[in-house]
């Protein structure tokens, strides 16, 4: 456990020592804050009985879009830098397992992600407390839980892709492309019908989040995301292990 914590601490430290963390958190808050304001101003003053709920839903959906652009940058340098600097060799000749390395890095990425989300809870929370009719609490809860799970899934995918290359930019681009592809599956859901449509619907990363934003917190969604994360953590561990077999 000491190893995992040491890696976690180091990764988190690295995020916050470089401008990366601040830029990402800042950008996220600026974008979501801006649109939150726009939505509130435009729709809360109209005679929309359900405005707060509508605003919440819109913001939560916006989250998904912003994640797509920003999260690749959280994970892009996880492994690329270690390989380039030769520090991966230090980690892999020390008495820690690949799993500890991968989990330490993943938890650090999740922590940064949580740091991005947390401030938005202030404005959403405020709206929830001071609006009538308030959006259902289930929606707030579901929204944030879904965001964490959805973001976690994207981060686990980004981590895996980062472990495949030594180049940060390639990692970021691959991750972004992968995210887009996943989003595209969602379009397939609408196009296809019947069984194919249902399968795609289950597989769609966005779809489950959509349910969460409606306040539907169900085990299928949670299981989906947790399985997704576990799968990509596993693949990352294998990928890291495979570095031992590469040419000196």
């Amino acid at each position: 456990m000491r190893g995992l914590y040491a890696i976690y601490r180091k990764e988190l430290g690295q995020y916050f020592v470089s401008p990366v963390a601040y830029v990402l958190v800042g950008l996220f808050l600026v974008i979501t804050g801006h649109f939150f304001t726009v939505y509130v101003v435009n729709y809360a003053t109209e005679d929309q009985p359900d405005a707060p709920t509508w605003v919440l839903r819109a913001v939560l959906q916006l989250f998904a879009l912003v994640f797509l652009f920003l999260l690749p940058m959280v994970t892009m340098s996880s492994y690329a830098e270690e390989k380039k600097r030769g520090t991966l060799e230090l980690l892999m000749t020390s008495p820690i397992t690949e799993l500890q390395i991968v989990l330490g890095k993943f938890f650090a990425a999740m922590t940064l992600f949580a740091a991005m989300l947390l401030p938005t809870a202030l404005s959403i929370g405020y709206m929830w407390m001071h609006s009538t009719p308030a959006p259902p609490f289930r929606m707030v809860l579901g929204g944030y839980l879904g965001a964490l799970l959805f973001g976690g899934a994207l981060l686990s995918l980004g981590t895996f892709l980062s472990s495949l290359t030594e180049n940060q930019i390639i990692a970021a681009v691959m991750t972004f492309a992968a995210f887009l592809l996943l989003w595209a599956i969602d379009f397939g859901v609408q196009a296809a019908g019947g069984t194919a449509g249902q399968v795609l619907q289950y597989l769609s990363v966005i779809n489950h989040y959509d349910d969460f934003t409606r306040g539907i917190i169900d085990t299928a969604g949670v299981t989906y995301y947790v399985s997704f994360i576990v799968l990509f953590i596993f693949l990352t561990v294998r990928s890291v292990d495979s570095m031992r077999w590469r040419r000196a």
């Binding site: 000491r2 190893g3 914590y5 040491a6 890696i7 601490r9 180091k10 430290g13 690295q14 020592v17 470089s18 600097r85 030769g86 520090t87 060799e89 230090l90 980690l91 892999m92 000749t93 020390s94 008495p95 820690i96 397992t97 031992r244 077999w245 040419r247 000196a248």
Partner: protein, 323 residues
């Protein structure tokens, strides 16, 4: 402390390490000498648990490097070719991180950090960010992390690269002081380093071991008589023919820069043959004045070149006065 038997590592068609066997006793300093690409780094990476061998076994502190990798890693400190440092950390923070991943308890860490900083003369750089250090200092930080957790075995891949002469001497002192309580393997292609610091030397070339012995034995093994230097007053070509014609003589080199018709010739003899008396009597028999005849022992550099040079491409033998 370290036993390597028939260790082999192949990458597809290329065999980087070819049935290498050697052992290192507790407290000994073993030097790994070889040209670039000889297989030194690969062997070290196998020993430190970074990569698995294709076949053969290696044991460190009694633990199998493949079967008990975690145990082996607990007992080893490793400095790879490039110091594995994080630029954004301070020296002390970095060493603390290394101690954590080497599983050293919190109460022991501060003392270990102080100790490592003292040994590598990094005391006043404790709070400096590693990215602000010069190359030589970075190398020292790399050295510090290899010994900070007080491992039984220390593996150093070219530890003095990038250091200035003063720092090199300090590092060699450090290594010599560490011996006894630690077992050390270091690789280098700086020959004097090996003669000065190591108890024994393994010369490795193209993945195969070319020689294993103490530096002293290696240099005196090919004893005087094996190479002869003779100074005579003789026509160069005639002398060349005469000497080349002696059975067992090879690589006859002539140098007439001494002037006054004097020619200095070096003759190498086949192993075990002492050609001194033959050379002397032949020269005298021709009536040429013989001024000097002596056996020249080969320096480690000569042996290194001898053992690691292809038959096809013979370089000029270095002058016996070199080194």
């Amino acid at each position: 402390m370290i036993e390597v038997e028939n260790l082999t590592k192949a990458y597809g068609q290329v065999t980087a390490v070819d049935h290498v066997s050697f052992s290192v006793n507790k407290g000994e300093i073993l030097g790994f000498l070889g040209p670039n690409g000889a297989g030194k780094t690969t062997t070290m990476r196998i020993l430190t648990g970074y990569m698995p061998a294709s076949s053969g076994t290696a044991r460190v502190a009694g633990f199998d490097v493949f079967g008990d990798s975690m145990e082996v890693r607990r007992h080893i400190g490793y400095l790879p070719e490039a110091p594995p440092v994080y630029p954004d950390m301070s020296v002390a923070a970095y060493l603390d991180f290394v101690l954590r991943i080497k599983n050293v308890a919190a109460d022991k860490r501060p003392a270990r950090i102080d100790d490592a900083l003292a040994k590598t003369s990094l005391g006043d750089k404790r709070k400096t960010l590693i990215k602000h250090l010069s190359r030589g200092y970075k190398q020292r930080v790399g050295l510090a992390q290899a010994l900070v957790h007080d491992p039984d075995v220390i593996v150093l891949d070219e530890p003095t690269v990038g250091l200035d002469p003063k720092q090199i001497i300090e590092v060699r002192h450090l290594i010599k002081n560490l011996a006894g309580s630690h077992t050390i393997i270091l690789s280098t292609h700086i020959l004097p380093e090996v003669s000065m610091t190591c108890d024994r030397v393994v010369i490795i070339n193209k993945g195969k071991i070319a020689a294993v012995d103490t530096p002293l034995n290696l240099t005196t093994q090919l004893k005087s008589g094996q190479r002869i230097q003779v100074e005579a007053q003789a026509p160069q070509e005639a002398l060349q023919d005469l000497l080349s014609g002696i059975p067992g003589a090879s690589r006859v080199q002539l140098d007439s820069s001494r002037g006054e018709g004097h020619v200095v010739a070096t003759v190498e003899a086949a192993p075990g043959q002492d050609l001194r008396s033959v050379v002397a009597s032949k020269i005298v028999a021709r009536g040429w004045p013989l001024f000097e005849l002596r056996g020249v022992s080969m320096s480690l550099e000569d042996i290194f070149l001898e053992l690691t040079t292809d038959e096809a491409a013979q370089p000029q033998p270095p002058s016996p006065a070199a080194n």
